[in-house]
Amino acid sequence: MALQSLDILRRSASPTPTPQARNPQEVAKLIDTTVCIGCKACQVACSEWNELRAEVGSCVGVYDNPTDLSSQAWTVMRFNEVEEKGKLEWLIRKDGCMHCSDPGCLKACPSPGAIVQYKNGIVDFHQENCIGCGYCISGCPFNVPRLSPADSKAYKCNLCSDRVAVGQEPACVKTCPTGAIQFGSKEDMIEVAATRITDLQSRGYDQAGLYDPAGVGGTHVMYVLHHADKPALYSGLPDNPSISAVVGVWKGMLKPLATLGVAAAGLFGFFHYITVGPNRADDEEEADHGTPPLPPAKGTKTKERENAL
């Protein structure tokens, strides 16, 4: 739904400026993986607030449940066991939309207004405009959007844009029992993260750091990681995410190139016809019959036009 109180910075497939007179603060959600206990309260809060009910799955031998994001599960906890410095570590990451500053989904989307980026940084899908092509899935560097099998519309976390619009924090933030998820202005969240990272580094996690990848212009969901040098440890968090170059060419260079090519073909035909004229085969035959009034008439016409000019 369109929220009047949130100005729009970018709108999919819309070449002209969006309404953006107001200047809200950029917001961010900070997920501190070092404090997360994997209780999945955030998953439940998300499903409660957004009225989503993923089908009850089955245990696949790990804690991940549901095992993947879906149109009914906009956030899932991903659990990974790794050995770092001879110690077993259980790395838990709350996965979901990262709300990129440069959103690949929005860049790929062909339907005007199906994806918007609010000025506060939230990237939201307006499903009523979604055509179900799945281009957003290909555009996303984090593999987040999911097509609903029921209605062929794409869904993902919207950072509770409805709550944020009225000054509340996202449902997952509200419910997190350990304070692992925090919400505020992006500036504040970077500051909170910095304090936390200093603390972690002083306690042996030399590589602790903030995950706010520059390749997508920064994100509005950020992680504090114990191993910021190896994001992939956290169930495949990309090291250097950015919009794929293939998507870049498809949505960038190809357009002017195609316009040139198609326009050239059309214009060539037009100018060829009005300069060279049609290629007729019946000239000789008509010459046999001896009455071809066309060529001279054409000649005189050209001359008249020349005189007129």
Binding site: S152, V246, R280
Partner: protein
Amino acid sequence: MKTTEKLIQRYCAAERINHWIVAVCFVLLAISGLAFFYPAFFWLTGVFGTPQLARIVHPFVGVVMVLAFARQFFRYAHHNLINKEDVKWMMSVKEVMKGNEVGDIGRYNGGQKGMFWVMVLCMILLLVSGVIAWRPYFAGYFPIPVIRIALLVHAASALVLIASIIVHVYAALWVQGTIRAMVEGVVTHAWARKHHPRWFRQVTGKEAGHS
């Protein structure tokens, strides 16, 4: 007025129907495809009722086009093998554009043959990439990086095909009497003698063009 036109059958009814199935499918696909490619043309999805319907219908129409084109491929592939005369034609395309015939052309000239193979290549690329990107049925079976390449290939080959079809249509308009071959199925003797002399001799059994 001529009362007795000398005509040659160039395309039978089945060939004409086949051609126009491909043509209508192509137009529908181009309309919806351009709408998905250019935001400024998105309104063209309205031709299909709603944008959602355009997106759903597009791939099915594509399958019909490919199937109908496949039938054409088997009809015409053996007529489109490129020979020395065609190379000569292609080298002197400038002269051809002035309206002067070049070489002893058979059923198809070098340009038509080139067009045939461009279309074949585009159709194959469009089919393969289209299936890979087709949601919700097939895309889920492919890794995302593969789908990305498919989307780029699909758009690029579609645009090459659109530009080619513009040339194809223009050539048919420019060489007058050609449209008739695909509408009524016939061409005049003069048309065949001028544009396809070798083919003319083959079908009429006449040696060398008279004058």
